[in-house]
């Protein structure tokens, strides 16, 4: 009797955007709380925890992603304005960017080729099929660009979106640990590496470290989108 009523209420609420929107905000804030409370361990990355918890809730309640996204799209939409807003830290830190212009361009090319080359090489050696390979190759680039590139080369855009998000979470959570290990303390190098390898999620992490790291990360994200869009079709032609 009671469970039936609850599921009726759930079905009613799930049909409006309010539930998914509120749920996303509540779950994310709980994930941040947990992350801070546990002294910020890499594996409790708030994006990772929030995604896992939301997937579990949706699966358990039999709610489809499409229904969920009807509410969550209001949060998703803000990615656009937030990307535009990355111009602000970039402007504030531009003197530093200008001074290291050569290092920026050279590191970007190296990093971009490494991201594509290692993904293709490893994926090939490990036996991924063509569709998965080409969907995987642009994984370090911000989602809309990566999906466009994958589609052009015969991949699956929605699969690419998943690879992009996972790459972002990996870079954002494990990246700072690796950089500590390598004794790289310079915020410009840290930010630039996080943005090149793991786009906006890496940039979100870099912004938590410092404004300089965030500025270089946002810059790297934009530049790597451009570099990958130009270089990957050439690399793929050599590879395939």
């Amino acid at each position: 009797m009671l469970p039936e009523t609850i599921s009726d209420i759930w079905v009613y609420l799930a049909a409006s955007p309010l539930l998914a929107l509120t749920l996303t905000l509540v779950v994310y804030q709980a994930a941040v709380w947990l992350y801070v409370r546990a002294k910020r361990p890499a594996l409790l990355n708030p994006v990772l925890v929030a995604v896992a918890a939301l997937v579990a809730i949706l699966v358990a309640t039999g709610t489809s992603y499409r229904t969920y996204f009807e509410g969550a799209q209001f949060i998703h939409f803000l990615l656009g304005p937030a990307t535009v807003a990355l111009a602000i830290p970039l402007y504030r830190q531009f003197e530093k960017v200008r001074k290291s212009a050569i290092a920026v361009v050279a590191s970007l090319l190296l990093g971009s080729l490494t991201a594509m080359g290692t993904a293709l090489g490893l994926g090939y050696v490990l036996g991924l099929d063509h569709v998965s390979l080409v969907s995987l190759a642009p994984k370090s680039v911000t989602a809309p660009v990566a999906m466009g590139i994958a589609e052009k080369l015969g991949g699956l855009p929605s699969l690419t979106a998943v690879f992009v998000i996972v790459t972002g979470i990996l870079g954002g959570s494990l990246g700072p640990l690796l950089l500590d290990r390598l004794k790289i303390g310079d915020p410009t190098a840290r930010g630039f590496a996080l943005g090149t390898a793991s786009h906006g999620i890496g940039t979100a992490r870099a912004l938590q470290e410092s404004e300089a790291a965030g500025a270089f990360s946002g810059l790297a994200m934009g530049l790597n989108a451009l570099a990958t869009a130009i270089l990957l079709p050439l690399l793929w032609a050599l590879f395939a």
């Binding site: 799209q73 998965s132 690879f163 790459t167």
Partner: protein, 124 residues
């Protein structure tokens, strides 16, 4: 506040328009970032309210990726088959890319900032 948000959205809209019209392989918001940057450079400063709105958005940037991340549930079947190679490739490729990029920045940044004290005798 409202003006700042409008200004940011206008930059994005202009970016989307340029992206669609030019066929450039860049998404609208990235072009919008370049436009906002140009506006700030011309004005020689970040107006207070644009700074406030931008900082609010950016301090919660991680949250904005959550809805797209939940989309992973749609690919459960395919990912199950290829989980191991995909995870290995993603982890290794991402970490190697971070290491290579950061080391390149560090080495080249060193040459620029404090050239004289760079260790001698390590031929390239």
């Amino acid at each position: 506040m409202l003006q700042a948000l409008t200004a940011i959205l206008l930059c994005q809209l202009a970016g989307e328009t340029i992206s669609a019209a030019s066929g450039l392989p860049l998404p609208g918001p990235v072009i919008g970032m370049v436009i906002l940057f140009a506006v700030l450079a011309i004005r020689k400063g970040v107006p207070k309210d644009i700074g406030a709105v931008g900082d609010t958005l950016l301090s919660n940037l991680s949250l904005l990726f959550v809805p797209a991340g939940v989309g992973i549930m749609q690919h459960a079947a395919r990912l199950e088959d290829e989980a191991l190679p995909v995870i290995v490739a993603l982890v290794v490729s991402t970490l190697v890319t971070i290491a290579v990029t950061a080391l390149a920045m560090k080495l080249m940044g060193k040459g620029r900032q404090d050239g004289p004290e760079a260790p001698a005798g390590r031929g390239q």
